[in-house]
Structure formats: C-alpha cells, structure tokens
C-alpha cells in the first residue's frame, strides 16, 4: 500500500513561501524501514506477543501506517501548517464563529502538567484542584448567564443543545407530560433542528418577520400544549436582538413550554443582558467562541449547559461539587439524565475558558461585548453602499450583508466575493447562512480586530466591487493567489476519495 516510488520529504515546493506544488501525503513519502519513534528503555522482558496472547487474536498482517523520518514528519506538517489560514495570520470574520484572538496565556495554562497530566479516573481526593476549577467555572458561567446550575460535560455547542433537549424532555416527563414539538425559527443554525430530532422531538419552524426577528404572531399560532419548548439564539443568527423576547418568553411559558438559549452568540451580550433575565430556562454556551479557546481547525470545543433552578436536578452527572467543608467531590443530581461525555467534558478547553474569564473579569467581559458590537455596526455601516445589510439597523456582534445587488448588476455572487476576499488578505465571511437571506455574507469582526483592520477590509470589498464592475469573470475564477485555486467540491462528493487507499484504487 506504500507508494511505489517515495516522494521526497525535504522538497518544500508546496510551502507557499516557495511554490505552488501540492504537498505529498505522508504515505507517498513513506519508505519501508524508516522510523522516527524512540521509546523509553524499561527493562521489561521482551516476551514475544504470541506467548502472551492467543494467536487467534493477532492480526496475521502488519497494518501499514507510514514510515518516515522525524525530519520528514516535521517538514511535512510544517508545510501543511503553511498551507492553512488561522486567526494568528489575520482577520477571520466568519459570522457565527466568533474567531477572535485566542490569548496564548490560556494555552500555556492548559499546557501545565499540573492540569493536563491528570488521569480523569483518579479519585476525587487526588484531583481537588481540578474539581475546584470545574466548580468555579460552573459558578462563573451561571453568573454570566443568569442561571443557577450547569453541566460542563458537553463537548461542543451541538452536544450542549442535545443535552439541553434531553433536560427539557426529562423535565416534561417528570411532569407526566413529555410533549412532542420544539419550535425553531427559520433562521436557526442547522444544529438546532438536528438536535431536536435526536432529542426525540419534532421541529416546528417559525418564520421570521421582515425585521429579521421571530414573527410573534406566527409563534403564537404555533404554540400549543404539545410544545415542549423553543430554541432561540439572541441575538439571532442575523445578528439582531430579539426585542420581543419578553413577550416570546411569556407566550412559551404560558403553554408550559421551556425556552432554550443557543449560546453561540453570547459574545454579543456579555455583561449587557443575561439569558436567565430574558426568561430562558436552558442555555448552552460555546466556550470555544465566547471565551476564546482556539477552534483547532474544527474542534475541540466545549458546550456547557446552564439551567434555571427547576431544571437543576436533571443535569448530567457526576458533577464536581463543593462540599460543606470546602473540599470537593463528585455528586450526581437527584434525577440526572446521566452522562453525556465519556469523562468530565473537554477539561482543557474548560480550563482555558476560566483563565480567559479571570483575565477579563466582569468589567472586561462587558467591554468584550461592547467592542464586538461596535465593530460589527461600524463595518455594517461602512459597507452599506457595497454590501447592504439584510436588515438595516443596529446589529449586535455580527452583521448579515447581502451580495444580491452585485449579483443583479454584475452576476457576481456572494461566494465570488468570499473567494476574492482571500486574495485581498482576509478570511472570507460565512456565506449562504442564514438561509433566509439571499446571497448572505455574514461578517463577525469580533472585538479583537482594530479599526484599521476593519477599514482595510472595507476597502478590500470596495476593490472587489470595482473588479466586479470591470472584470466579473475574474471573480468567478478567484482565488488565484492561494495554494490551490477554486476547489471542485462537486467532484469530491461524486467521486468519493476519503482515504489514501481509495485514492490508489
């Protein structure tokens, strides 16, 4: 399965610094007999494996991984890293993703062996520091959200959502009334309906009104005694605050439903307004967004779920708990739905988030929200002539703009603008989400980008518009300055090649 003729590990032509070649795969670089690993000398006798384990269990074949030198391993992954955009390289205004700067201090905290070398199954008495940290974080997140208890187990936002829905179900079930439907606005993130299904509920979609908000009449029409609850994010996915939130909450509560807060947009309201104060019963947070734990190219995240007091007894367990004597132990809530993670959640992400919160404090978190919202509004207004806002009024931490005018005038689509922006030195915004906005381009500058960066982003978009007017074709071909040009996504799906072995066939 190894490449017949191995490709060189030392040729750097795929590093954008030098060239535009493709990077060989590690398998293509592999040469039988090479190795990088070095193991400790243990003094344990090297009894042959077949004397320890019956041969029926042993694989008669060797599973081929790759055989490379440490030098080639380093060159390969260093070059791959040069073929990858990241926050550390520049602005990453992906709407809904909160790609703010991730303080290196938080990474250093998480690299401390005093935290990261602890086995998750070690008895509580031997891991009091961790339990203290988890309890402190839970308490802190409750203050931030205005809730009374939380679980830190869910690994990401979507896991938090499903956990929240199971809490909703447990609550209603305990009341002898499991219910059937969960309401979701049409602008919702895809994880919301997917989680509803996995939570055993049916989705009822609520349309948005022409202000980009939940249509209160449509909501009321959809409500009924079989409604378990509603999932909202506020600000919603078009970056607008649901101003009628109190009315919504009352209406849902009136039919006995619960309000679920998708915390992906919590960055906008830190210290300004709290989900609990708006009437929400269940809140998940995306720590990897709001609290700046790096996204890792798609994970890990952490999606703690905080709840109001009436739901606390259902939270997943075991939970780190502060005992009366000041020590800590694991306890399981009375009517816990059970575990939602193999251990205690993404602990190192949780630790980073607490460090981030501690640096900011209450005052700093409020500043985060204020400046995130300031940046988004400035950009919205600055771009209004080029990419008008889908809903033109004060937005929160992100703004949904539309390339519809460019499409009408020049045949240039939002995707073209997004790709051309890469050539201008910026990561693209989120494209075609939310689905309710035509040619949506969703910009979330985040609070860590400067006015100069925003101005430069705006100028880049203006240049793209001029290019759209003079040479729209060139935009369909963008980007050309990147390691690969526009990628054929359709072919990947049509001709699935998801492993090197499939590629060889």
């Amino acid at each position: 399965m190894m490449a017949a003729k191995a490709l060189p590990g030392g040729r750097a032509a795929s590093a954008p610094l030098l060239g535009h070649d493709i990077e060989p795969t590690i398998f293509e670089m592999s040469v039988a007999g090479r190795a990088a690993y070095q193991l400790r000398t243990t003094g344990v006798a090297a009894t042959p494996l077949n004397e320890l384990v019956p041969s029926t269990h042993l694989n008669p074949d060797v599973v081929p991984l790759a055989e490379v030198s440490e030098r080639d391993l380093v060159a390969h992954f260093t070059r791959l890293s040069h073929r990858q955009f990241s926050v550390d390289l520049g602005a990453y205004p992906l709407g809904s993703c909160t790609m703010k700067y991730n303080p290196k201090f938080c990474d250093a905290v998480a690299a401390d062996p005093g935290l990261n070398s602890v086995h998750p199954g070690a008895p509580a008495e031997l891991t009091q520091g961790w339990l203290d940290l988890l309890v402190t974080l839970e308490e802190t997140l409750c203050v931030i959200t205005g809730m009374s208890a939380a679980t830190l187990q869910p690994s990401a936002g979507a896991a938090g959502e499903l956990t929240g829905l199971l809490l909703m179900r447990a609550f209603h079930t305990a009341n002898g009334d499991p219910r059937r439907r969960v309401l979701i606005p049409d602008s919702a993130h895809g994880t919301n309906p997917a989680s509803v299904t996995l939570g055993g509920y049916e989705v009822t979609t609520i349309s948005s009104n022409d202000r980009g908000l939940v249509d209160l009449d449509a909501l009321k029409a959809a409500l009924g005694p079989d409604v378990a609850g509603i999932m909202l994010t506020n600000p919603n996915t078009v970056g607008l605050f649901e101003e009628e939130i109190t009315e919504i909450a009352t209406a849902v509560h009136d039919v006995g439903g619960l309000l679920y807060y998708d915390g992906a947009n919590l960055n906008a309201i830190l210290g300004v307004v709290r989900p609990g104060d708006m009437g929400f019963d269940i809140v998940h947070m995306n720590l990897h967004k709001t609290f700046a734990t790096p996204h890792g190219g798609g994970g890990p995240g952490a999606g703690p779920v905080a709840v109001s007091s009436r739901l606390a007894e259902f939270l997943p367990g075991p939970k780190a708990t502060r005992l009366a004597d000041g020590t800590f132990d694991w306890t399981t809530p009375a009517r816990s739905i059970g575990r939602v993670h193999g251990w205690h959640g993404n602990a190192m992400v949780l630790a980073r988030a607490l460090a981030y919160i501690d640096v900011h404090g209450g005052d700093g978190l409020t500043r985060v929200a204020q400046h995130a919202v300031l940046n988004a509004n400035w950009l919205r207004k600055r771009l209004s002539a080029t990419l008008p806002a889908a809903y033109d009024r004060t937005c929160m931490h992100e703004c949904v703009l539309t390339a519809a005018p460019l499409k009408a005038k020049y045949g240039v689509r939002g995707l073209d603008v997004a790709k051309a922006l890469l050539e201008e030195g910026f990561h693209s915004p989120t494209v075609y989400f939310p689905l309710i906005v035509d040619e949506a381009l969703m910009f979330e500058p985040t609070e860590t980008e400067s006015l100069q960066t925003l101005e430069s982003l705006a100028e880049a978009i203006e240049r793209i518009e001029r290019r759209a007017a003079s040479d729209p074709e060139s935009l369909h071909r963008a980007p050309q300055t990147t390691p690969v040009s526009r990628v054929d996504e359709a072919r990947a799906a049509r001709h699935l090649v998801a492993t090197e072995d499939a590629a060889q066939r």
Partner: protein, 454 residues
Amino acid sequence: MADYLPHTPDEVAAMLGFLGMDSLDQLFAHIPAAVRLSQGLDLPAGMSEPDVAAVFERFTDANRATTTDMTCFAGAGAYDHEIPAVVKMLGSRSEFVTAYTPYQPEVAQGVLQAIFEYQTLISRLSGLPIANASLYDGATALVEALNLAAGATGRSKMVISSGVHPHWRAVARTFAKGTGHEIVEAPLKDGVTDWAGVDASGAAAVVAAYPNYLGILEDLTAAKQMAVADGALLVIGADPVAAGVLKTAGQWGADVFVGEGQPFGTALSYGGPYLGLFACTLEQIRRLPGRIVGETVDSNDRRSFVTTLRAREQDIRREKATSNVCTNQTLMAVTAAIQLGWLGTYGLREVATRCAQGAHYLYDQLLAIDGVRAVSTQPFFREFAVRLPESALGVLHRMADEGVLGGLAVSALAGGSDPSIDDDIDDVLLVAVTERRTRAELDNYVDLLRKAVS
C-alpha cells in the same frame, strides 16, 4: 482590568461618531430595558495574566494525581503514553490551533490534508474502508454508531456487551432517552460476553468491545454470527493501540468501528478533549456522522482536499441530518495523525507489544500475592482486573500516598454494581500498563500492593 482589545478611546469615539452615537451603551439601546443588566456582571474585576497564573497555581498544587508526581497505572481508555516533543511542537503550531473548520478549502489545505491522512490511518487500523474526521470521544462515537445502526436497519433495539466501558454504556443510555432506543446489556461471564444470555432478535446493533474494558480479549465470532443471523450491524469498540497488532474490527466483521483516540498523542487532560474514532463500511457511507474530507482537484487540476458529502450534515439537512455534530475534535485528529506518523508502522506495533509485555509481567507478579485473585481466566492484552481482599479504593489511596496511581476501582467506573462483574465489585481493581512503565516501576507496584493488602 485586563483585556485584549485594540480600541483606543479616540477610536471608540470616532467609531461611535460614525454611527451617530455617543456612548457604547447606545449600541444596546434597542434591547428592552427590562431585561438589561444595570450593574454589569457580579464577577471580580479582571486580573493580569501573571495574577491569573497565580490563581491557577492553586489548582495545580491541589492536583496530586499528576503523572509528574505519581506513576500512572490508570487506564480505562485514557492512557499515559509517550508523547514526544516533536508531536507536541507540531500539534501546537498555531495554524492548526487557531483555524476554524475548513470552510474555505483554498486556504485550508493544511488541516484538510492532515484530516485526510488521519482518515486513512484510522481506516487502516480499523480494517474498514472509510473513517470520518473525528467525533467528540469514544463514548459519543458509540452513540453515533447506534444512531447509524438505527437508520440502517429501521430498528431501535441495541444489544450492548457489558464489556463495553461503563461510561460508554451510561452515555448510550442517556442519549437513548432522546432517540427512544431500547438498550439491552449482555452480561459478562468469566470476563467475556455471555451473548447467549440476551435476545438479539430485532436488534439494530450488536456492540462488542475489543479488548473489553477489563482488558480481556473476547472472541467476536459469536457476536458476528449473532449480528448476521439477526440482521443487525456489528459495532466494535476497540483500543486503537491494540489495533496495531490485534485483528482489526474489519477482520472480525464489524460494520462500524468506534474507539477512543486519546492514546494517539493527546495528554491525559483530565478526560478531555479526547478523540472519538469512527469508521464503517462503504455501505453506510451516507449515514456516516460528522465531517469527511475527500480528495478532489482545483480549477487548475491540482490535487486538493475538501470537506465532502456535506448533504448528510446538519447545516444542509437540518432535522433530517445523520447527526447534529458540527464542531468536532479536529486538533486531536491532526495530532493523532502526527503521533501515528511519528510511531509509524512498527512503532505502533512496538508500543502495543510493550504494553502487553508489561501488563502480563505485572499481572503474574500480582497474582502471586496472597489474597489477590484473578477476575477471569481469559486472555487479556494491556490492561487487567484483579480482585483484592478488600476495597480497591482503599488500596488505591494507600498506594497514592507512596506516589503510585495504582489503577482504577471498577466500582467507581461502573458507579456501583455492574453486569460485567458477578461477585463483589468493590474489590476489583483495574490496572493498565503502558510502554512508559519500567521494570523498576512494576516491581515497586508489586511491593506497594503487597504492603497495602497485607
């Protein structure tokens, strides 16, 4: 007061001016006053990084069970393997760490190719043709496998060996409350699954662990036969390190492989972030949960990578998606690719072999101690359970005082009694040995345990 904001007061004023506002508060004027906080958050003021570091020192000081302070014999899916400096360095390169999901493939070939290589490695180790780009952890990977099986068979009964990690079973039970799956646990007898004791008819999945959570190697022929006979999918949860030498899930006939990828370059991390491994047959590909990276070409016909089969995913299929997963564990997957690249074909075999050698040496020594008894007569691989003459937790604490984390109490793992252990569960200790444990450490362990139980 500390933060990472670039805005100077002048700039804030100018930006507000541009918006026709004169205070930051005005940005939030459209939020109903009734719900707005009047006083800000009731949290301490911000502290500088070095001050926060001092706070965290309190946490780290209070953690006794670090591998720097205690020799680690705890396992159950989380192992103290060697992670060389080179893997740490590459895995912490900021391009990998601070990127988002590769939505713009033209500037994300780094992560995309690394995932493609990861998928290849997991596919090979599982003996199955396709692997996804990662799931949260082993436990939730199992849940996704059950959901896949339900979709594939239109059934909802899940037969799960109680050799599957107790936490995984617990997680499966939790999520079954939403999906409505019926979970049937097959008990262990003499440490191996008593398949005969359960009825798999109408089952969507038969789930086995290999080795099982007690470290025991079960012959999975019966599980496969049962699955085939009953039209269920065979799901195998396997130790990916052992997979370097043992029969692959594919060779045992699995339709789905799941596993916990922590041993591939991720620190113990108090349990997370870890790495959910997932692979399956081509038949199930449209039901595969999570992200998949595929090979394609760019407009200049150069090989490129891109996330593919998006039509399964939540952002497109919404309530009909195969899974709700969005953010996964990419960084751990990239790290696993790097660690497996470092180990290479023979390094992984060597690690697996050394684990087994150490475990068997220790097991033999321990059984020679008065009062220590076997839990099973079956073969094991790199981890084993022994029955002590008293509560395992008590022994663990005494050993901890001597600088050894002697393993895990099975009762604590299982949260009480469990169909995997027929006699008193409190006395059962689960011990894992990795390639990092020296002969001297093993001998010291034996001495300490002897002292602790005598």
